[in-house]
Point group: C2
Chain length 431, copies 2
């Protein structure tokens, strides 16, 4: 069974200047997004430092049949209609665009449909019906658990249930949206609560999974079919106010501590582009309970994971003023998921809950097992008790105004070119 | 300050047959909804046992200015565009419709735009951007807390924070959607979890608040302005699988135990129609902490509550076969809210989270202090330990296949006619 085709060929090159060897968007990636110049938002495909305009492409006469319908479905301000078609229209569009961008004979006709990314504004790729955030990063769950329950860091359900909760769809934004410091109820141990700006503002390193192809209410999705509903991945920063969270979260979970902003990288790296980077998920530690049958499938065990290196960088206002480059805070990997994206989808629909195209599923924080790969300041500073030292003498327990956090991801597999997601970045401003 | 006008006049009568004295929809109500015959869904207004077609009304030439724009905004399959306008267009439309339906001279022109409700299918009134469920029913919180923490039933944050969490928008349905029994992970005390149909399926008696007029990201809503964002109310049944909930909910809150279905009454009883039934909320018990300033406002204290009697009825399959009428399980009242709808809105936006028109906020279960007014079977049967006896000899700890639960609400105020919400009903079917 090979789902690889010529679009994945590492030898394929593009006539688009700078696309070959581009760190994120060589011709093997071709992610989907929504952009605008000073006009109406519409679908586009990233190639190098350019965006191919799908509305223009749909009008060009260069497409036919399924690829033409797919480009038409992507010509509006949201990709939901394209995503609803599932994998077939995405694949048809990808194959045709890969041909057009690699064939020098097409350059004259296609080049006028390219816009410089720097001239464009990026939007969310889809209207998000519901945003769900999971908690599949087991090292994150362990680290957080140790802070509060040193003797029993992992709750008894963790290795049976892919824990998740509903997040807020309205406040998901593409990269570079300002991170307005939220105010909320803060409570010191022996004091009454006050309403004040959060003092423990944090980031969380996550992946986001876009749903393409919905399911009906009352119709569970078997794990063997779950990935048919995966349109693609993005980076996701689940900004968190730890002080608001600590006081509000019992008994119904995080709420205002999270829903002031969630930042995503605006490009959907499609399930097709991800093919060469599929891998077995991290094995379950010996002695762990076997997943219940609805969460157990041989294909998911064989290729449910992703070969993605993840990185978090920080730059403070002072660092920028001093001309100091941003600093890597953390290096992790998508392998650190106790549950796969397929298991997240199958579990979500296991009670009959309906998924819709354009839904967004976060993985939860993907921390590595060691401190250089922790995916939040809560973990990196042990709850703020051990502030980080920055190269210019500053220290950080939590984020200060002016701090900028950037997530990045690198897909790599032997024999294939590297791909990326583009930026997922945000700078903290006072509320 | 009077926000009452001729549309609230109890002496106003309608030429529509059966509207005067109608238990839910006399001319003083005029709720907004979306209906269809065998054609495209569109906005409508309930009057007695009929629906006034807003798309037809917009085409009729009977409206002008703001009322005409409002009807046009309500001519499509979702009322979001109308709701986005806030109170002014709703009021203009209400006044004009009230005139048209009360003036016998208009009967000939308006009557062709009425459809029998029984011939229509009801849809959700709006595209729900986000659904948030609160926990403001303090007697419910106490009852549930007593089951798990007899010594400290109320968590320390309850009287400071209007506790809420994000629900699932995709699975909200209008009345009469089948309640498909969900399956999920169930765990007995000393056994491994299994995946099986829920054995502890429950209802929850709630009100829902529809948001009309959004707020921007990073822009908190002061409590004094919160109700400008309230479009109206509905009944809401937050179906719950208690066994799934017990095992999954730590540490991030309820998820699959709730998101398989939420049923609402399909009519938005508007903020304008609610005016005569505004009342002071239940006073905070002596000694309770004062709300923090952002949750404290004199107008909210004076009229933040609603005079709404609430009722839950059950009919089982056997009861229906035996011709036995449905049985009242519970009688409660909207006064049993520790936090008002205004406080829910102000709290929700206090961190800068953006609200959007068409968002739905549930109150949480509104139990009365005494057992005849408990709003869920969990409370009525003390966690299933004391099953209810039905008149035909059946007993119920939790819901069985074939059971039907109906919520109803009655708005009443001295000197005004009674209004209602219509049905909020669901029948349990096997998964």
């Amino acid at each position: 069974m090979s789902r690889l085709d010529e679009t994945h060929d590492p030898a394929r090159v593009s006539w688009v200047e700078g696309a070959d060897g581009h760190p994120d968007f060589p011709i093997q990636n071709l992610p989907l997004g929504v952009f605008s110049l000073d006009d109406a938002p519409r679908g586009g495909v990233a190639i190098g430092d350019f965006i191919l305009d799908l509305a223009a492409l749909a009008d060009s006469g260069l497409l036919s049949c399924e690829a033409q319908e797919a480009a038409r479905a992507a010509s509006g301000p949201e990709l939901n209609a394209l995503l609803e078609g599932g994998g077939a229209p995405r694949r048809a569009l990808r194959r045709r665009i890969s041909d057009l961008l690699s064939d020098p004979a097409q350059r004259e006709r296609v080049e006028p449909m390219l816009h410089r990314t720097n001239d464009c504004r990026m939007h969310l790729p889809a209207r998000i019906g519901d945003y769900t955030d999971f908690y599949v990063g087991i090292h994150h769950a362990l680290n957080v658990g140790r802070l509060f329950r040193p003797d029993a860091p992992l709750l008894p359900n963790y290795k049976h249930v892919p824990i998740g909760y509903h997040g807020r769809a309205s406040s998901v934004r593409p990269t570079d949206a300002p991170v307005i410091r939220p105010s909320g109820q803060l409570k010191a141990a022996d004091a009454d609560p006050i309403f004040a700006p959060s003092r423990r503002l944090d980031f969380e390193l996550e992946l986001g999974a876009w749903i393409g192809g919905g399911s009906g209410l009352g119709r569970p999705i078997p794990l063997a079919e779950a990935e048919r509903h995966l349109a693609g991945l993005c980076l996701l920063n689940d900004w968190s106010a730890r002080d608001i969270q600590a006081w509000e979260y019992q008994p119904l979970g995080p709420f205002l501590s999270k829903n002031f902003l969630t930042t995503v990288s605006p490009w959907v790296v499609t399930a097709e582009a991800l093919e060469p980077y599929r891998t077995a998920p991290e094995p379950r530690p010996a002695g762990d309970p076997a997943p219940l049958p609805y969460l157990d499938d041989p294909t998911d065990r064989a290729r449910g994971g992703f070969a993605i290196d993840l990185e978090v960088r920080i730059s403070t206002r002072k660092m920028r003023e001093e001309g100091i480059e941003d600093l890597v805070l953390s290096r992790s990997h998508a392998r650190h998921m106790y549950w796969t994206v397929g298991q997240m989808i199958a579990h979500h629909a296991s009670n009959g809950c309906d998924l819709r195209s354009g839904d967004l599923l976060g993985t939860g924080t993907l921390s590595a097992p060691t401190a250089d790969g922790f995916g939040s300041l809560l973990e990196l500073t042990r709850g703020g008790a051990e502030p980080l030292s920055l190269p210019n003498g500053e220290t950080r327990a939590f984020l200060e105004d002016g701090d900028e956090i950037a997530l990045s991801g690198r897909l790599s597999a032997p024999g294939f070119v590297n791909l990326g997601f583009g930026e997922c970045r945000g700078r903290v401003v006072a509320g």
